[in-house]
Symmetry: C2
Subunit: 614 residues, 2 copies
Amino acid sequence: MTVASTTIDLLIIGAGPAGLALANWFRDSDIAVLLIDQKPGPTPRGQAEGLKSTTNEIFDSYGIGPQIEAESWRLEEIAVWGPKDGGDGIVREQVVPDKVEELGKPRETMLQQSRVEHHMLQNLLSHENIDIQYNTTPIAIDVDTSCTHEADAYPVKVRLLRAKRSKSLVNGAGDNAHGSETFEETLLAKYVVGCDGAHSWLRKQLDVKLEGDLTDSVFGVVDFVPKSNFPDLRRVCYLRAATGTILLVPRSNKEVRMYIPVESGTVLPDPKDLTFDRVMDAARKIITPYTLEVGSVSWWSAYRVGQRVGTHFSRLNERAFLVGDAVHTHSPKAGQGMNTSIQDAYNLGWKLRLVLQGGVPDDPQALLRTYETERRPVAQNLIAFDRGYLKLFASVSSQFDTELVKALKFTTGLSIRYPPSCAVRLPHGVSDLGPSLLKADLSPGKRLPDFQVVYHSDCIPTWIHKRLQTTGAFRVIVFAGDIADADKMARIKRTGEFLGDTKNGLGKLTMVSGGHLAPVEVLVVHCAERDKVDFMDLPDVYRPWSEGAGYDYWRVFADQESVHDGHGRVYERLEIDKEQGCVVVVRPDGYVGAVLDVEDLAGMKSYFEGVGML
Amino acid sequence: MTVASTTIDLLIIGAGPAGLALANWFRDSDIAVLLIDQKPGPTPRGQAEGLKSTTNEIFDSYGIGPQIEAESWRLEEIAVWGPKDGGDGIVREQVVPDKVEELGKPRETMLQQSRVEHHMLQNLLSHENIDIQYNTTPIAIDVDTSCTHEADAYPVKVRLLRAKRSKSLVNGAGDNAHGSETFEETLLAKYVVGCDGAHSWLRKQLDVKLEGDLTDSVFGVVDFVPKSNFPDLRRVCYLRAATGTILLVPRSNKEVRMYIPVESGTVLPDPKDLTFDRVMDAARKIITPYTLEVGSVSWWSAYRVGQRVGTHFSRLNERAFLVGDAVHTHSPKAGQGMNTSIQDAYNLGWKLRLVLQGGVPDDPQALLRTYETERRPVAQNLIAFDRGYLKLFASVSSQFDTELVKALKFTTGLSIRYPPSCAVRLPHGVSDLGPSLLKADLSPGKRLPDFQVVYHSDCIPTWIHKRLQTTGAFRVIVFAGDIADADKMARIKRTGEFLGDTKNGLGKLTMVSGGHLAPVEVLVVHCAERDKVDFMDLPDVYRPWSEGAGYDYWRVFADQESVHDGHGRVYERLEIDKEQGCVVVVRPDGYVGAVLDVEDLAGMKSYFEGVGML
């Protein structure tokens, strides 16, 4: 046994969806990241599966959207079945499009967790600053709280138990228990993040409690190829019979996933006692008079749903964080587990990156604290939703349809609005925006709704989140209105000159110098006829020049009809006044930091001062 | 030096776009294919770049469409510039959408040849029946014509010079000239195909001549990052000044490709004498008064255009074939080189596969002969087009716009119609269809126009060519009309029963048995309201049952509004009468073999008898 010691900027414990999503933030940076997992390697299967459009936008921003989309199974329709009047059996009540109009694109797709992990992992492999070590277990942690306020300190000391890469492991035996030696290593890190799941080791070390309860719902879940004459097997199906309920979700490989609650009586069933036959027997009773045979089963399980949230999401002066299942659990029926974990990680990643790059010299803790203030309420709201959803699903309610449509919008994340903070600025003189709506609106703290625009220079259409790659940069998007009009052009010229002014404006943040990526990228979305605008007439900050690459043609967009893909109608959808326009500050995670008047130069400066970047 | 001998079903000489496209036909078969190339490995760069939508449909059918699409650069607009009246300089005359309405999708994308080859190569790697050997040169061929009519014979004897895989090669030195030994091998093959480019070795061995001439056009072509104030650098640009012409095509990596003819005078310039500076000087004169500097150059070349077609595309009783540049050359300006090569290979591949699988017991030569009768006229027409196109491009014609729109349609392949043959059947009593139109119509010998439909069972939209994967199967598509109507349902039931009848109908070809893929797959496209049709009411052949996978839900489609992707309007676009319907026989390469009445059962049988499959 040997003891070695090394330093690292960021230690991520757990290489599941949350850990991999977090690590993806550090591509193309010089931040040293180590991702460890006690497993011997990537797992070939996983239970989570539903991907919401917001999560797919995250994959777009990581550059792996096309691969994931190509493998995903789309969901287009939801069939609602209820008990037949005055008799046994079930009857189709209605078919609802699986669609949220505000999104302008599919709401949900299905891809199994292991493939999602695969693509996120592949995306890390060519980045030498990110290391991944399997067969590695943390066994002790000690944080030196005396230096957690020093930017250059490594206050986190973690002892790891690692497997030597013995021959049997390299050959893919994949079993750490036999024939491999282990050794201990002590690691010093600036930050540590626990993405280590429901039984999180780090959560226990940090003394974070889960608040809430196990519910009395025990579920069976089965992935199988059905052989059945039931007509809606390829639709999402809510089957509510007198004898129980089933949720069916189609997936790839001709399989469907079936969720079936085994209802509680006076004696709660123990998930361990549930057999496959008992699950299928219960399902057959519900789906009667249709047949239900099993062609093949790729996976099945039984579990009791816990609905719990961690008391803290970060500790020790924001040197240690917990992400995903480590701090919240709920039922899998709304397909929120993997999505919420990835979105947690996505919220935290850019903040750690910005701080580790020295981008927030004063009080970086203030920015890092927003991880908890932003994500903990999301988990709490999710669990409140989950309680209602479980009840709704189990009952035969006349309100089912209305509630279902609300649920579709909720699970898409349309109600998430982060509270005011150093990274979310309310408009001047406004102290409270009131409750957030189930709507894709342009509001500080909400995600920038995705929209289609065309590039000014070539009319190629793009959705904006595909363009907002996770480089770590904020974006200032100038919604310029009709800049074929001289007044409006003059207005955004003044704004552009301020944004590019390295002395009195934001030039220090926006102008590329020495090949480094600027921490703030300036974009324009206008609604003028493209050929009435002289591109060269725009200030530098909107089309910067570089010696090697000439002008940057990829910052100016038009809200107009594309050649092949229709019209995005951005101004209309986001309710932006074409006369007034506006400036939207978009955080690196695609959330709106501020919505300002086009000429509110002081407001723009004040936003970045608030984050701590100026 | 050692001499070994081995047998193989198919030898493909040349692993460029044509050879790789051909090899892709043999995935998931038990046909032994060897692909050889004298190069030491895949090339990192290549000159061809434009991909037409038809070629992208081929990639879809090979399952590599998403990867290629994700890397491709779209072209949306074409700007036409002409000389300024009464003075030097140029002026924008108009901007034309780079669109062919009939396609319903982008007409052309840009991806460099090496990436196209990469994806086709990757797609072969997991298929053990397909072997690829670089560093391998054919040195002699001998065909035993006495046995070319015997199905099981190996009449093609080829002597190969191969490099031993010496250490330096494995380590990626990639140079065959030094430090590696070679050895000779004699190979016996059933068929040989030369995809070995403009200087084809096989063409010379087969004594095939190229007819036609070198033109007097010498072109310079440059891929570079421009630094310029010219406003249309990101559009396809036809620049026609008094001093010459330029074609600009935007590509990825901030580059543009520039084609510039160096006009012939009394003394033709030799391409070898053309310098980069001379090319750029000529370009600067044309683009005046705009500036044109070079940021960086990734590739440039100069060449004289040849316009030539081989006298034969196949020889020796259809045991030897020539594909792509080996039998036709023309100017690269219409972006037809790589496309035509891939399409040649796509035409030949399924025929060889079907014959090698024993699917055409009698007179397989008749089917194989259609490769030449179908593809040689395509090459001839292409060269005729190219002559006009070169002239058009070089002149200042008032007809330019009209001619350009025609050219867009022509280069998309909309006029290609293969002549009647054993695989292309004219309607009863019709002996001549007249000239083919520049139109996406449903006509024997033309490519099935791509269209969007939704799956009956789940409303997921698909374009039909994505669904028509290259399994080697023909498809019988029953355009069934509104089958909520009892008469129409009864009609397609009768047709379905015939198609599934193994005694008197086409069941031998259409019904899956013993896990083997049937050589003919039956699909339905109806235009009924989906929930008014009982899926289980359809005959087996439309939704076959398998013990492991239950019913096949992926053969029945509806022409209706999708949830997220609009309406394909197939019946309208293809001008199919909703009352009458029709049956379309689609060949494995996506071309229409026959268009028949829904109840013309004899016609269906006769088609497959004609091919030689019955």
